[in-house]
């Protein structure tokens, strides 16, 4: 006998499974309308590939997978797409999400499809493609796209394939009845899974011992294969993936890890059947077994249900009495969520619709104080201390909660079930998890902002420093110029001064670094001297009017024009008062004066601005020969480029990309307005630019992080 392990805690709620096992699986039939949510799985929602008004056939692709972790959606029956719009989907929040609505035509006309006659001749990749294209997602509850889970990773070899037939939740019998009636299909599916996963050690089907008929059927079907049916005592929540792994192998999935990390892949038996149908018959996932049960239903039973079937349709078939129903649960009584609307459709993960009466699942009594009795800790399958977490949760002590491994909570509800004070513990944990996730997101956002802010601050500081340096240089230059101007009363003096300066400069350059320039004051090149003289002359001539004198002159001009304007205005007012016929003439005069004033003001402003922004290197450059000046300019430019930090370069890159994107968007908008053919091209280029921008931003962020550390 194979060794099985026990999980910590667990509870034994009333099973209530017999009610829905009285009959065989019934085909629910085709409802007049099918509502197919684009997101029936974990991952990115599918994108519709049909339009309103299209006729679709059974099994036809109506929405394609978007991204790697995603699953396509197929039409469960033939009919017409009547709408693609938000409808209520099965979700704890009762939210709406985009759905494809199909008006069925009752013909149930299949699209052409064909299975593989012998899959063993195909590669693993081919089979995974078929599974992916069939839209198969985990049917036990989570709805993780099966192909992604099965693809695995070369670095994580799989030794054990586990098929989950536990079905530990009370009331639900979808897997049980599947085992009883379709054991051969399950085993066929498991064999395909074996072929894909290639488990090096074992393939186990785990079933709780409360399903003797299902176990017998499976054992008969699996006879002669290397698939082992492992039976273990019934206890909730043995069917949790992590719990089942522990029971069957004694291994624990590391916190935050996946079963593949310890060489295990887990699949639900319903998924195995779906894979069998997809590979061997070419049928996509368009129906599933759903249990409809609870005492508010007169005929609880299991239905082969088309995906998209409204819950109301199933309830009607089961003799549902709404007056007796306390709540409508999608899933089981431990982990299911309530539905607000019976128009909610059945999706890939809907294993049960539970319609209990008020006596069956009464409204919860008011919670009493926690007496820390520890019954919750006794029930917890992952060895948490729920009562401690409850106190921390109430006090919003997030650090303590994480220290107590809040995120290892699987929300099975065993603690709440066991709590004698009726405290909705799981609800507290859900709320706290959400709060912590929110806080983490906020923190990440704040951190990013901080990095950005600090980079910006640094940049601004650098710019300020550069400006300051320039300002100082300018100031000194202006002083030197003034001094030379003051000294340069006569042209000869000015020339002499220029020569002196030039000599000094040469000497400085020679002393500094330039072996190329052998020029000393004694053996100054005659040509250079001539140039210097000429420049000095020009300087002496033009700079006759120094900038200060110019400022003065311009200011005077402005002042006098202002006076004239005032006088003209006075005349005009007087003329207007007296009704003089010269009013028009005066008005023109005022206008003219005003224009003159404006222009002289502008001149003054321009002059002042030019004073401010005059390049610091200009006066010395004037004394250099042109060749040297060019070299100096080039060097300066190179230096400026070098001084431009990596951060600034990246930022420049980002901002230029942003500008380009803005332009591209404008163009695109225009093109769209005009209905131009280039929309597609523009969209592409915009997307590319956005990618580039994202890259550039990433680089910048990385760089900032690096420079921070």
């Amino acid at each position: 006998m194979r060794q099985i392990w026990d999980i910590h805690g667990g509870i034994h709620p009333p099973e209530n499974k017999h009610q829905s096992l009285g009959e065989k699986i019934q085909t629910a039939g085709i409802p007049s309308q099918l509502i197919l949510p684009l997101s029936q799985h974990i991952g990115a929602p599918a994108a519709p590939v049909v339009n309103v008004g299209d006729r679709v056939l059974k099994g036809q692709l109506i929405a394609e997978a978007k991204g790697f972790v995603s699953a396509p959606v197929h039409a469960p029956s033939s009919g017409t797409v009547v709408a693609i719009e938000p409808r209520i989907i099965p979700h704890p929040s009762g939210m709406t999400a985009p759905c494809v609505i199909i008006e069925t035509d009752n013909k149930d006309e299949w699209i052409a499809h064909k299975g593989l006659s012998d899959y063993t001749g195909e590669t693993k990749e081919t089979l995974l493609d078929i599974i992916r294209n069939a839209g198969i997602a985990g049917m036990g509850g989570a709805g993780f796209p099966s192909a992604v889970k099965l693809a695995g990773h070369p670095s994580k070899p799989i030794d054990t394939l586990i098929i989950n037939g536990t079905e530990c939740e009370p009331y639900i019998t979808a897997d049980d009845i599947l085992m009883r009636e379709r054991a051969e299909q399950i085993i066929a599916g498991v064999k395909i899974l074996q072929y894909i996963v290639q488990p090096s050690e074992q393939t186990l089907i785990g079933v709780e011992d409360n399903k003797p008929e299902g176990i017998a059927a499976l054992q008969a079907a699996a006879a002669g294969s290397n698939i082992e049916i492992v039976v273990f005592p019934t206890k909730y929540p043995s069917g949790g993936e992590k719990q089942l792994i522990q029971i069957l192998t004694g291994r624990e999935v590391p916190s935050g890890g996946l079963p593949a990390d310890i060489g295990i892949v887990c699949q639900n038996i319903g998924t195995a059947v779906a894979i069998h149908r997809a590979i061997e018959f070419g049928e996509p996932l368009i129906s599933r077994i759903t249990t409809v049960t609870g005492n508010a239903c007169q005929q609880p039973r299991n239905y082969e249900t088309l995906l998209g079937t409204p819950v109301q349709y199933l309830l009607d078939k089961s003799g549902f009495d709404s007056s007796r129903c306390s709540r409508l649960v999608m899933g089981g009584p431990m982990m299911g969520y309530t539905l607000e609307d019976t128009a909610t459709p059945i999706v890939k993960t809907s294993n049960c619709v539970l319609a209990p009466t008020r006596d069956e699942l009464p409204a919860p009594p008011p919670a009493q104080a926690c007496i820390r009795c520890g019954m919750c800790a006794e029930a917890c399958p992952v060895s948490l201390l729920p009562q401690q977490m409850y106190w921390f949760s109430r006090a919003q002590e997030h650090d303590k909660l994480e220290e107590h491994n809040l995120f290892d909570c699987i929300e099975c509800g065993a603690c709440s079930y066991a709590c004698p004070s009726n405290i909705p513990l799981v609800q507290y944990y859900r709320a706290s998890k959400a709060e912590i996730r929110q806080a983490q997101q906020d923190k990440a956002k704040a951190d990013r902002s901080k990095v950005r802010f600090e980079a910006r601050k640094e940049r601004i500081e650098q710019e300020e420093a550069e400006k300051e340096a320039k300002r100082k240089a300018r100031l000194e230059a202006a002083k030197a110029k003034q001094a030379s101007a003051a000294a340069g009363d006569s042209k000869a003096d000015a020339i002499q001064a220029a020569i002196e300066r030039s000599k000094a400069k040469k000497a400085a350059q020679e002393g500094g670094n330039a072996p190329t320039e052998n020029a000393s004051p004694e053996n100054l090149d005659p040509a250079q001297a001539a140039i210097a003289r000429a420049q000095a002359k020009r300087a002496g001539g033009e700079v006759d009017e120094t900038s200060e004198q110019k400022t003065e002159r311009l200011e005077k001009q402005v002042a006098s024009t202002e006076k004239r304007l005032t006088a003209a205005q006075q005349k005009l007012t007087l003329a207007q008062e007296q009704g003089d016929d010269k009013v028009a003439a005066f008005a023109t005069a005022v206008e003219k004066t005003q224009a003159k004033l404006d222009s002289s003001r502008q001149e003054l402003e321009a002059h002042l601005a030019s004073l401010k922004s005059a390049a610091p290197a200009e006066p010395p450059q004037a004394e250099l020969d042109p060749a040297q000046a060019a070299i100096a300019r080039a060097m300066a430019a190179r230096e400026a480029q070098a001084n431009l930090s990596e951060t600034d370069k990246l930022q420049q890159n980002v901002s230029s990309l942003e500008t380009r994107i803005a332009k591209a968007e404008q163009k695109l908008a225009q093109a769209k307005e005009q209905g131009a053919e280039t929309v597609g091209v523009l969209e592409d280029s915009l997307a590319k630019l956005q990618d580039k921008l994202a890259d550039a931003r990433q680089q910048l962020e990385n760089h900032n992080l690096e420079s921070q550390s």
Binding site: P254, T338, A363, N405, Y417
Partner: protein, 348 residues
Amino acid sequence: MALLKISSPHAHGPMSTAKVMRLVILATLPGILALTWFFGFGTLSNILWASISALAFEALALKFRSRPIGFYLNDCSALVTAVLLGIALPPASPIWLILVGTGFAILICKQLYGGMGYNPFNPAMAAYVMLLISFPVEMTTWLQPFDGGVMGNSALLGPIEALQHSLGLGSVDAVTAATPLDILKQNSSATLAELWQQTPQFGQYAGIGWEWANAGFLLGGAYLLYRRVFTWHAPLSMLIALSVMAALFYDGGSSNSGGSPLFHLFSGATMLGAFFIVTDPVTSAVSNRGRVVYGALIGILVYLIRSWGNYPDAIAFSVMLMNFAAPLIDHYTQPRTYGHKKSAKESN
């Protein structure tokens, strides 16, 4: 159709806090029966007055705190406190003593901290300690047990007499005697065998009556264990620690002996403490490992105080001391969660 919007789980177990409390009260019955058989109706009169006053105090406090009175009285937690205090007090204690005790337990130790679940100390034990320190004479006057007439006194208090005695009415004169723990504590010359011969209060293993009262509480505790009201960790580790300590200092039954393990297990409030006080969930450690530590430390403390402290019995003191320590124990005994190599504490 108005459908209930509520998050999972939708099913709820059959256990309720009031049920737990009622089970605890039910489980004290064998012990109370033994106490009544050997010491008369004094314990029952204690419990009667304590219950009435505790409920009254609780109602009063709830009224002041504007809480729904019926809802909270129904959880029976005040009743449990009253019953435990009534058992712990000397039989037929005066009513004022009981009133002071329940008042302190309910008003100060429980409601001032926020009511059920919020009290850091076990209210019954805190009240007991307060009374013991404040009124040592009243608190150490135990009645002589009924031994079938060997000691010459078979006039146990009847129901009426017990009530009269507690009210200070009439001229009922109960015969008092030292408890075995007291006698052993005072002893410095006689060996245990001699002591057993000399003193009529001793029975088979421990004191007459005390043995049976402890056996009664042990039975009740076993029932609660069977009903899974609490786990075995704290009581068992306390009893084992106490036995180990007693065995270590048994000293072959000499005049220095602290008494045999059996003597300690069946004397004083050992079993009451182990199954009804140490298991008080509110004030004890929370994890199973923590509860083992918590219980063991109480067992050791009980022996230390009984042998070398100033008081003959020590359950209340030990429990209160460990109530202090419970949060610290919790900090270091967090269990290993599924998928973690070590507990979060240890890996830090």
